[in-house]
């Protein structure tokens, strides 16, 4: 690793020198080494084990307040020369109507628990065995389990941000995500269950637990009833609540709001959710799934309140969108790939300009114990899984999700039985407004690459059965 970082530093230094020689006003190099190992499980087997090691650099340049960007995976001197020219060419017609400059050096805080040597050095063969433990645990839970499919992704990244203002920010981290989907069969009855989690260290990786929980959910759904379409009191378990956090996070990005989802564009300072809900972004949280000392522009991380007791306090900013709205960056620059045909692996990407988004968002825990929320629900639903969730009208907030599995009827504080596949159809803002209970503990939950620390919440929503 040491020689790799030396290579990245060398390439970054060369780039800034080339940019200076070409008389560019400012330059910023974001260098990445991103390793991903994926073990996919299907039909109770290891289906494929696949790895990627991506090394490259994204370069932003400013000349006469014109901003350009380009990236390459080739760090040879010849390629870096070409890269500076390409970045300059993309900037030629991109004169910014506001004053823009890259970030200045600041003191970088420390974050603990985001890099684990054991996870970074995990041999691929061992990762394959660990992934398969999910299948074994699921099959061992019940002889009704007929099929399992899932994934283990292990990520190890190292990044270096250098700019002509003297910012030099190194960042390294490890990450895993693990999920299993189990199928149970009993005669003609078929039911699915799932579980997923993520973490930053090997000691947090407990594949047997994931396998067992997925199997439990699958078996619990074998005897299910059809739901009657109605407006219900709904307890959203950790996984669906993490998806709500994911949507809310997109909506407070000035870029995403301006381009695609304008639902909250004019709502800063307004009450948009129940008093019970406070959304915090804390990239300094020890071992947080999105924690890091700096953002992807080299700005030091800081904790901030986005939604305070239901009132939208602020959007989150990187330096670019901050400059557009005459605000300072809030340290929320994230380099996610932004084009089809460009890799979008977990971990770090160098081939896109930063996007401002919350980095480690969570709902502040409430006062309710998880069991109390259930006990004090007279009549309602427990929703443990969202599938194919969409904001079908990003202006109005129409929201839909298929309740594919893990759906239960609740009566007088008890789960009284599983329900067949249904669909939630409501408005996201109404769902947020109707939250009347938030649990007191955060759990890492999510699916398909998106994870958050989340409590469970209780709200109201319209739910209909589907064939």
């Amino acid at each position: 690793m040491a020689s790799l970082l030396t290579n990245l530093k060398e390439a970054g230094k060369n780039l800034l020198e080339i940019a200076e020689k070409k008389n560019l006003d400012e330059a910023e190099a974001y260098l990445v080494s991103n390793k991903v190992l994926t073990v996919r499980l299907v039909n109770n087997s290891v289906f494929e084990a696949k790895g990627v090691h991506d090394i490259g650099v994204g370069l932003r340049v400013i000349k006469n307040n014109m901003l350009g960007f380009s990236s390459t995976a080739d760090l040879s001197k010849k390629s870096l020369e070409k890269l500076v020219d390409a970045a300059s060419s993309t900037g030629k017609a991109r004169k910014l109507p506001f004053k823009y400059s890259f970030t200045k050096p600041e003191k970088i805080p420390k974050v603990v628990g985001v890099y684990d040597r054991k996870l970074a050095k995990l041999p691929a063969e061992k990762a394959v065995d660990l992934a398969y433990e999910m299948v074994e645990a699921s099959l061992a839970h019940s002889n009704k389990i007929s099929d399992n499919a899932g994934v283990l992704n292990v990520v190890c990244y190292e990044t270096l941000l250098l700019n002509t203002h003297g910012v030099s920010a190194e960042n390294s981290g490890t990450f895993f995500e693990v999920s299993l989907s189990a199928t149970a069969k009993n005669g003609q009855n078929v039911s699915e269950g799932s579980n997923a989690t993520a973490g930053r260290s090997l000691k947090e990786l407990k594949p047997k637990e994931v396998g067992k929980k997925a199997a439990e959910m699958a078996v619990s759904g074998l005897k299910s009833q059809k739901l009657k379409e109605d407006a219900y009191t709904v307890i959203l378990d950790h996984e669906p609540t993490s998806e709500i956090i994911g949507y809310l996070s997109m909506l407070v990005s000035p870029m995403i709001a301006r381009l695609y989802f304008p639902l909250l564009l004019d709502k800063v300072g307004k009450k948009i959710a129940s008093q019970q809900l406070t959304l915090i972004d804390d990239p300094l949280m020890p071992s947080g799934v999105g924690s890091e000392p700096v953002d992807d522009e080299g700005t030091p991380s800081k904790k901030q309140v986005i939604l305070d007791k239901g009132t939208l306090k602020a959007f989150v900013y990187d330096s670019f969108y901050g400059a557009i709205e005459k605000k300072k960056t809030t340290g929320n620059a994230v380099r996610a790939s932004f084009a089809v045909g460009v890799s979008s692996f977990p971990g770090k990407n160098y081939n896109g300009e930063p996007i401002p988004v919350p980095r480690n968002p969570y709902f502040k825990p409430g006062k309710w114990k998880r069991e109390e929320i259930l006990e004090e629900t007279k009549k309602g639903l427990l929703v443990r899984h969202f599938h194919y969730t969409r904001l079908t009208n990003p202006t109005r907030g129409d929201f839909t999700s298929v309740l594919r599995m893990g759906l239960y009827a609740v009566k007088n504080g008890e789960i009284v039985g599983a329900l067949k596949k249904s669909r939630m159809l409501d408005n996201l803002l109404k769902i947020l407004e109707n939250v009347d209970a938030v649990s007191d503990k955060l759990v890492v939950a999510g699916s398909w690459g998106q994870y958050a620390h989340t409590p469970i919440i209780r709200t109201k929503a319209h739910v209909a059965s589907i064939e």
Partner: protein, 472 residues
């Protein structure tokens, strides 16, 4: 790019003892320009070269990619691909077998008139800014958005069975979107233009006129009436709406890995698993997947396993005929492989993907379909899908619709969404128009890590029944 490196990689894998190996050596050039409300949000050029090596060892797959194109770097990647396959083989219940396929040695290119790199980025950016400006046909247009993508890929595929295929591809598309507002009402309209080829598509089309039409449509929706709930309404779906419908309820469920339950943990499975040969729709319903159509986003002649592409018949006269296959799933189903495997870059292992999936034409003129509808709706242009995990229950919204009364288009409708089940809709189809149009769908997602791939989808106008959902 030294093209022999792909052969070097598969030789190395064979030397290690892999039962089968293939390599994709690729050189990528990508452009991205996003303009919103007169401001350039993104102006990007990306370049990336690398190799992805897939190995089959004792019945299990391994894969590793690298951007280090030295022989040492490739050798290391091959070793990892071999090692992880070997480790996986301990946990495989049914060892992978590949259906036989011919090994081709050939070279082909997408027809390009204006190469992306022969035009100054600055000039393209200026044009895209200008088209965004044109979206603002009046003050009612509060948001305009243009998103342009240009991709060039040089690819070498080599396999341990002797295949060696070179493919130079070029793809271009642009989405134009306008949001309009009046009082509390906000509406939007969007159109995507794209093809496999060069920048000439923007010279062939009158982009200013298209952008202005998008703006006018967004405005006109402000005076349209909100759709009302109507169960089992007679609907005529235009090519654009059909493109998303065929994608979601014919294309995805036809992927053999989904049929086998291999995508169960992600996008889901397929309701028609085990129903090949069964009648699932009306006689009017025939659907294909065909990568061999030049100019489409799903164009290729050999897939990422080196299998020669051909038209796949998925549904014929309402009978489920077959699926899209890899060599592995073809062996399981006992059929010939049909070139369904693609990966977005060398960094990803190939998956079974759509190429161009579309409904076959019928013999109706679309005007006749409308004239012979007493009460119904002409539903136009795709918006948002929400489909269940088995691709059975579907809800897809449309950008606009017109009520049909006694064979004539009458009231203009907004906020239209249709819902039905796949078999119910398929069985309801009673008229199909004579002209097929295949449209670009650039962001089809599948896999873990997710691969967002460009495909073509479409068909003729189709008449059937579905429930219209009102605004909640």
């Amino acid at each position: 790019m030294d093209k022999d490196l792909a052969l070097f990689a598969v030789d190395q894998a064979s030397k290690l003892g892999a039962d089968y190996a293939d390599a994709r050596l690729e050189d990528h050039y990508n452009e991205l320009i996003i303009v919103a409300n007169g401001k350039v949000q993104r102006g990007v050029i990306n370049r990336k070269s690398g190799i992805g090596i897939r190995t089959l060892v004792d019945g299990a797959w391994g894969f590793q990619s690298t951007t280090d194109l030295t022989k040492k770097g490739i050798r290391q990647a091959v070793e990892i691909a071999y090692k992880v396959a070997k480790a996986s083989s301990k946990h495989v219940q049914t060892p992978v077998k590949l259906a036989p396929a011919n090994s081709y040695k050939t070279s082909y290119k997408t027809k390009v008139k204006t190469d992306l790199e022969n035009l100054a980025f600055e000039d393209k950016l200026k044009q895209i800014v200008s088209w965004e400006k044109t979206l603002h046909t009046s003050k009612k247009i509060v948001r305009g958005l243009t998103e342009y993508t240009g991709i060039k890929i040089d690819k070498v595929f080599a396999s341990s069975e002797g295949a060696n295929i070179n493919f130079s591809n070029s793809l271009v598309w642009i989405s134009l979107k306008a949001d309009s507002t009046q009082g509390d009402l906000t509406q939007s309209y969007e159109k995507t233009i794209g093809h496999s080829g060069g920048y000439e598509i923007f010279h062939r089309n009158n982009m200013e006129e298209i952008a202005s039409e998008v703006g006018r449509k967004a405005e006109s929706l402000l005076s349209a009436k909100a759709a009302k709930m109507e169960r089992d309404a007679k609907i005529i779906l235009d090519n654009d709406y059909i493109a998303l419908l065929v994608h979601e309820i014919i294309g995805h469920p036809s992927e053999a890995d989904r049929v086998l339950g291999r995508e169960a943990a992600w996008a889901g499975t397929t309701w028609w698993a085990g129903k090949i040969g069964e009648k699932i729709g009306s006689d009017y319903l025939t659907a294909y997947d065909d990568p061999t159509i030049p100019g489409t986003l799903g164009y290729y002649l050999y897939d990422d396993e080196g299998v020669k592409a051909r038209r796949k018949v998925l549904v014929e006269k309402g009978v489920l005929i077959g699926h899209m296959h890899s060599r592995e799933t073809a062996a399981i189903f006992g059929v010939e492989p049909n070139a369904g495997m693609r990966a977005i870059t060398f960094e990803y292992i190939p998956l079974i993907r759509m190429s161009n999936t579309f409904f076959k034409e019928g013999d109706w003129k679309k005007e006749e379909m409308i004239e012979e509808t007493k009460h119904g709706y002409l539903v136009s242009c795709m918006k948002h899908p929400s489909i269940d995990d088995k691709r059975y229950n579907w809800t897809i919204s449309a950008q606009e619709a017109y009520e049909i009364k006694n064979g004539e288009l009458t009231t203009h409708l907004r906020d239209v969404a249709l819902t039905s089940t796949a078999p119910k809709f398929f069985k309801s189809v009673d008229a199909v128009s004579e002209k097929v149009e295949i449209l670009p769908l650039p962001g089809c997602g599948k896999g873990d890590p997710m691969q967002a791939l460009y495909v073509g989808n479409g068909g003729p106008f189709i008449r059937g029944t579905a429930t219209i959902l009102g605004v909640k």
